[in-house]
Amino acid sequence: MAARRTPSQTVGPFFHEALRWKDGGNVTFAEAGRRIVLAGRVIDGAGEPVADAMIETWQLSPLGKTHAPAAGNERPHGFGRVETGEDGSFRIETSMPGGEAPCLEVALFARGLLKALRTRVYFAAEERARADPVLHAMAGSPRVRTLVAQPAGDDRYRWDVRLQGEGETVFFAV
């Protein structure tokens, strides 16, 4: 029997202790892979840092697979959860996802967000991201570049999230 969904509400400002997972920003996998670091900031429409956001990531394994369950009391493979600092910054260490257009699925929660924002960050050239069928409806838009992490040397990538205004990140309707 069909059921009607429970509405979303904001995560509010007091989630940190309850939702903080030990080493949540160090994403684990069953397979070996190239380790990378994704760092950036979350900025609001006034240019201010969003100091009370939480970012979750989900991705394919380094071999492009979905994940087998982790054992024991570990965190789930392939899943990251980090909070932003006072300057809106976040940092996630993970393995390069497999697949033709490697990317992380991102869900962003914060005070002032009544519903999570959903987006993606690609570790691929902008042209490759544009060819991804998920972005088909806006493949010709300059805004696609808001979804592409910029290489910052030594397996490091930079990706800022702008919630509103100039350079606003592309968010998905889910």
Partner: protein
């Protein structure tokens, strides 16, 4: 063109001016409609050992019982087809009975309770059921507008089975007069949808002479990813 920032009337829009924090944090560009099913794929599987015995009882972690009205909160986690979401992680957090969070950012001068941190975790069982033991949270003032008070509520985080099912919400209590003035509650446009965030009083699900019983069922979007036959 439809209002792409409000893809579903069951959810609040991103911009709800009555809730001041949405003003600078809500996107203004149209949302990108991605192919159906993109996020209706298997999500994280949290190992059962992640939750420890006692994590679903918020009243047993101090040197004595916390202050407040003890309550048992039970319910079911379901998908959009009404099927149980099994062995799925639920995380909750809440203010204490005086309306104060055990969080460094909470400046409300109501007292902390040394016997209550207000955080819990559990997994749903094979029928999608969950159970928490806690105390009823207090209302508290906030700075959104003059004489702004949040109604009593418990925050819920649900992982579901698929990324499309990921939900953070708040559970409210029946008959709370503060609901009418709460912009977060009122951000959901549809009245029937708002009422789905209110638990029900169900005395016999409590503990006789010990704890009130409340029931709160939660329905997540997406159904394709619900595993069958497990």
């Amino acid at each position: 063109m439809n209002d792409m920032t409000r893809p579903d009337a069951d959810d609040p829009p991103y911009l709800h001016p009555g809730y001041a924090s949405t003003l600078a944090r809500s996107p203004r560009e149209p949302l990108l409609r991605i192919p159906a099913g993109t996020l209706d794929v298997p999500g994280p599987t949290v190992p059962q050992g992640f939750v420890r015995s006692g994590d679903n009882d918020l009243t047993i972690h101090g040197s004595s019982a916390p202050l407040g009205e003890k309550m048992v909160l039970t319910g079911r986690l379901l998908d959009a087809e009404g099927r149980p979401i099994r062995r799925s992680l639920i995380e909750i957090w809440q203010a204490n009975a005086a309306g104060r969070y055990a969080h460094p950012g909470d400046r409300h001068e109501a007292p902390l309770d040394p016997n209550f941190t207000g955080m819990g975790r559990t997994f749903t069982d094979d029928e999608g059921r969950y159970r928490f033991v806690t105390v009823k949270p207090g209302a508290y003032p906030w700075k959104n507008h003059r004489f702004a008070w949040r109604p009593q509520h418990i925050h819920f985080s649900l992982l579901g089975n698929a990324p499309v099912q990921r939900l953070v919400t708040q559970m409210y209590f029946p008959g709370d007069p503060l609901l009418a003035i709460d912009p977060i509650w009122n951000s959901v446009p549809d009245e029937a949808a708002r009422k789905r965030m209110v638990c029900g009083l169900a005395l016999e699900t409590g503990i006789e002479e010990v704890a009130l019983g409340y029931v709160f069922d939660i329905v997540l979007g997406g159904a394709r990813a619900t595993p069958l036959g497990i």
